[in-house]
Symmetry: C3
Subunit: 266 residues, 3 copies
């Protein structure tokens, strides 16, 4: 796809080092912070209800991730999210494990209802859990192929008025009308904890430098997936692979990114 200036967006991140505020889970905080630093953004983690509004006011994007959820953190997510909304700061949401427990599903549904989200990124089962009850009862088994996932993603995007990114073998990005597919990535990414969460943070870094949410989601997933491909060329097991991914996020040139991103409409 020629019409996203991937080279320009990555250059902008590296020049401006946008502050990305993360309210994320304990497991992936370190990997997420290193992902953002390596790609050129500036991470900050803050979760206290009496701090997050002030922190997000300094930031150019907010990540909300429910991977290790508890009630005080939910309060902070809403305080930060509402402040981000009123300040025009993009909010990128990762509904980790939504559908698995009622705490996660209920929190996810409250978040998509009460906050204005820029992008929601999850796997097919997490995105499916967001939609209104009719769809949910069908379950993930109803998603037999990529076309059915695309239909589900489109209707969810319309319902929640946000760009939805469903990651899998091929990633789908949709605003409810348009669809972009991203084919970058590598299976070894599934063997490293936090790659999904870090992909979400990558989207947030791009959302900090472009107002176009479709563009930000597509650029983030292509960038992160391409780093996975570059890592797989150097490492054959998940420990050295995750280190090689951080290296690739840092070393990838804007020109290479533009050339090797596998994005297509439809």
């Amino acid at each position: 796809m020629r019409n996203i200036d991937l080279k320009g967006l990555l250059t902008k991140i590296r020049e401006e080092g946008p502050l990305v505020h993360n309210i994320t889970n304990y497991v992936v905080m370190n990997f997420t912070a290193n992902t953002l630093l390596a790609m050129g953004a500036s991470p900050v983690m803050a979760h206290a209800p009496n701090e997050v509004e002030e922190m997000v006011s300094l930031a150019r994007a907010l990540v909300i991730n429910i991977g290790t959820l508890s009630d005080p953190w939910i309060d902070a997510m809403f305080l930060a999210g509402k402040k981000a909304n009123s300040n025009g700061v993009p909010v990128v949401f990762d509904p980790v494990g939504s559908g698995a427990t009622s705490l996660r599903t209920d929190t996810t549904r409250r978040i998509v209802r009460d906050l204005k989200l820029t992008v929601v990124r999850g796997n097919a089962s997490e995105i499916l859990s967001i939609a209104s009850s009719g769809t949910v009862t069908k379950g993930v088994d109803s998603l037999h192929d990529v076309e059915q996932v695309a239909e589900m993603a489109k209707s969810t995007a319309k319902e929640i008025n946000s760009v939805v990114a469903v990651t899998g073998k091929v990633d789908l990005i949709t605003d409810g009308t348009r669809v972009i597919r991203c084919s970058n990535g590598h299976p070894m990414m599934g063997k490293v904890t936090g790659t999904g969460c870090a992909a979400t943070a990558t989207i947030a870094a791009f959302a900090a430098v472009t107002p176009d949410a479709m563009e930000a989601a597509a650029a983030g997933l292509a960038f992160f997936g391409l780093a996975g491909e570059m890592a797989a060329a150097r490492a054959q097991a998940p420990g050295s692979f995750m280190i090689a991914m951080i290296d690739a996020l840092y070393a990838m040139s804007p020109g290479d990114f533009q050339k090797r991103a596998l994005l297509e409409k439809g």
Copy 2:
């Protein structure tokens, strides 16, 4: 030891990818999740009192680890542990630092009293702190050799009605009557944070695929120790060693595991 089908157990983990629910400490969450993923299991971390019962109901094993303890987490440990007990889900317990502070020692004693544990893994001083007061007053200095450690472990296992695994130069696994010794491992493991905690999680992954707790503990420690040996052949310092360990957990074949495990009775 010929009578544990180590090859079959590892193959089963890789085929079935059992979900292991971890309530563990902040320091080791990332390394533990990557350990479980690399070996073929599926990790989840969840600690909210209003979520853990539902989460553990989806899991095939539960890890309780008190490495960064606080009161709300203790509540969650008991809620998850009791649910696991009533569902027949194995519970593997790591009493990190028990004996060092009264919060840890008291919590450990409540856990061994109120929950049915499958395996408890710790170093000699942690295991010693579990037993009733008579033994404790003797202190770790009373453990002059491996035979005394074995006697202490056996009496503790009988008292708490759980398999006890004491890790050290040689690991001892006992149900109070039988004893298995494991000689796999490498001194560099002591220079990487969370290797003990990850060994505990490894035991839980094996407990998810065999009902025999002695087998699960022996297999877990042999597997994790052997990964340490394989890592030491590639790396001479702890940073590259920990990455090489994750690689080895992924790369080790079931056949190599069976061949190189150093387990003996007695």
Copy 3:
């Protein structure tokens, strides 16, 4: 500078393995623990208000780091800090993000007022935020060169009666009168999360083996910076660099440390 026995201090850490109690942020706990282990110290993380006094009583140094602050953790910081003060245990403080939000700035000012600190380590903007209001209103932009930073650090050190270490291109260590400059380090350290926090923990490990706070701060920053230089000789991107840093902290000989430390008075 010939008059700090760097070789002797590092040898002492490796021989004695002093316990360093960390109340630090979620993002860096793993990297901090691995830093301390690799250099030869013994890390423990504990944050529960009902445990920290007992834990710090076992330790030879305490690290307080406000990187992911919340109210219950603030309580624990004061409980541990006061106990450390009454026991004569050195307290090393890292005011992460002070100046960015009022929760962090206010907590920092309470800590420097109510606890006796051995060393405070931060970047210029964090250290500037500590001082009384007159100085603060000038802002970081008033610090045009290294001499102005030195003056600000000296007056802050006097005001709070602690050694202050300002890290940057050149690190400055001062007790308000004397100044030591450290030129070790590498720009890639800024691309890895938690290097500042780990440098603070390194200072604490040295404070555990010498009563001279200037010496401990200078030794810690030279040691950690030199590990960065050694890592940069092996790795050109931040993932492999952070692993090479852990390796270097372990592999560096006391003799090399003495020889390659770049410390000068004035």
